[in-house]
């Protein structure tokens, strides 16, 4: 049996997609998995739609092409649905993690599992903002981690504490925890 997950992140320049995807890789690698985080670089500036790919596997990853058929799609901003189609190529029964509050309508004809995370609220509550703008990728990763279920909380905290000074680290941990609480598995 092999374990392989392909994740595509949709966000905007400045949302911190790349570093969050890298952070995720750091965590799963700590647990013995292989992982890869591929940013797509273009001419875009802050605010423009952008993507990152994460591959996770229990065996070494050789390919580095773009992920065309992700298992999971993460969308940092529901307005992106108006500009692009974040769900293109998503596998059958694929998972969508989207930063949205309950009332936001995310329509899809397919049998995707849509998970809404109010990442803005969680970030603001955790004090996780940069220049006043909420860091939504961390709560989204929290939800993702819960779904993946391969990284224990201890490892999550460990990696985060290595990366940030205590005060910031705690805010991140708080946001991650809050997010993972809203996700139901099954």
């Amino acid at each position: 049996m092999t374990y392989k997950v392909e994740i595509r992140w949709h966000g905007r320049g400045g949302h911190g997609l790349v570093s969050t995807s890298n952070l995720l890789c750091e965590m799963v690698v700590r647990k013995g998995y292989y992982a890869q985080s591929i940013p797509i670089f273009g001419a875009e500036r802050r605010g423009a739609p952008t993507q990152v790919f994460t591959r996770i596997s229990d065996s070494p990853i050789r390919k580095r092409s773009e992920i065309k058929n992700p298992d999971i799609v993460i969308v940092t901003d529901p307005s992106l649905f108006n500009i692009i189609d974040p769900l293109h190529g998503l596998v059958d029964k694929g998972i969508v993690i989207v930063n949205a509050n309950e009332s936001t309508e995310i329509s899809s004809e397919n049998n995707f599992k849509i998970i809404k995370v109010n990442a803005v609220e969680i970030s603001l509550e955790s004090g996780l903002t940069v220049g006043g703008i909420p860091v939504v990728t961390i709560p989204l990763m929290g939800a993702l981690l819960k779904i993946l279920g391969i990284v224990d909380l201890k490892t999550v905290e460990e990696v985060i504490r290595e990366r940030w000074r205590p005060e910031i680290a705690e805010r991140n941990i708080k946001a991650l925890k809050m997010a993972s609480e809203v996700v139901e598995i099954g």
Partner: protein
Amino acid sequence: MYRPKIVENLGEDEWIYAGHPACHGCGAALGLRHLLKTIGKKSILVVPAGCTSIIAGTMNAATFNIPFIHTAFGAAAAVASGVAEALSKKGMDDINVVVWAGDGGTYDIGLASLSGAAERGHNILFVLDDNEAYMNTGIQRSGGTPRGAWTTTTITGKKEEKKDIMKIVLSHHVPYAATASVAYPLDFNRKVKKALGIKGFKFIHLMAPCPPGWRFETHMTIEIARRAVLSGAWILMEYENGRLRLNPPSSNMLDKRRISLEEYLMMQGRFKHVKRELLEELKRDVELRWSEIKEILEKQGKQ
């Protein structure tokens, strides 16, 4: 139809299309907008590698509505020399040839070609778009980065002084050289117009703040550009045939009626780490520059 005076003066024709890829609040984009308003459509714009390579748009759509050519990073002044000489050969001397180059493309890799073009005296207007670092590659230091500023290659602050590019250019006895600021578009507009009226190699040094590179919020671009001038750190002036004149508001600041340097520097993340001692030195540098200017003006006055 009502139009404010400033709008009339600057003109309503736009030669830069909206929807371009510059960052929010980009000083360079604003500078380009006003530059193109002034030079108009009978102009050719020559731009080396830098943020403007991006701002210029993609192959889907070009941002500038005038003929435009990207050049290798160090080559802008030379490409423009070729354009100018070729136009002249075709009897089209009425077309403006304008270089718009970043500080990296001017102070550093492009310095020899700038100097060569200036020495030969081609009929070019060279506009230095100074955001004080290599922004397009992600904020590395350049010869134009001021002392003390953080960049990704001077994370503890740059040790060396900002090169005095104006002195270097003036050493070439160019007929016209001036400074400008995106906070003072009428002044910039007037200087560009004046430069276009003079034959030979002209130089305008435009200060154009960059929110991500200087680490400030996007709505502060003009505020910061203005404070650079009001604190005396950036001096609006022009040299015609070597003769210096200050322009308002700098012309009213010889007697030190200026805001403090902190009010300019400390609004920018790149200077946040600067310690008292260095700050004092930076202040002294500003004073020194002003006293030099005073001397030049006094000397000129005597003549």
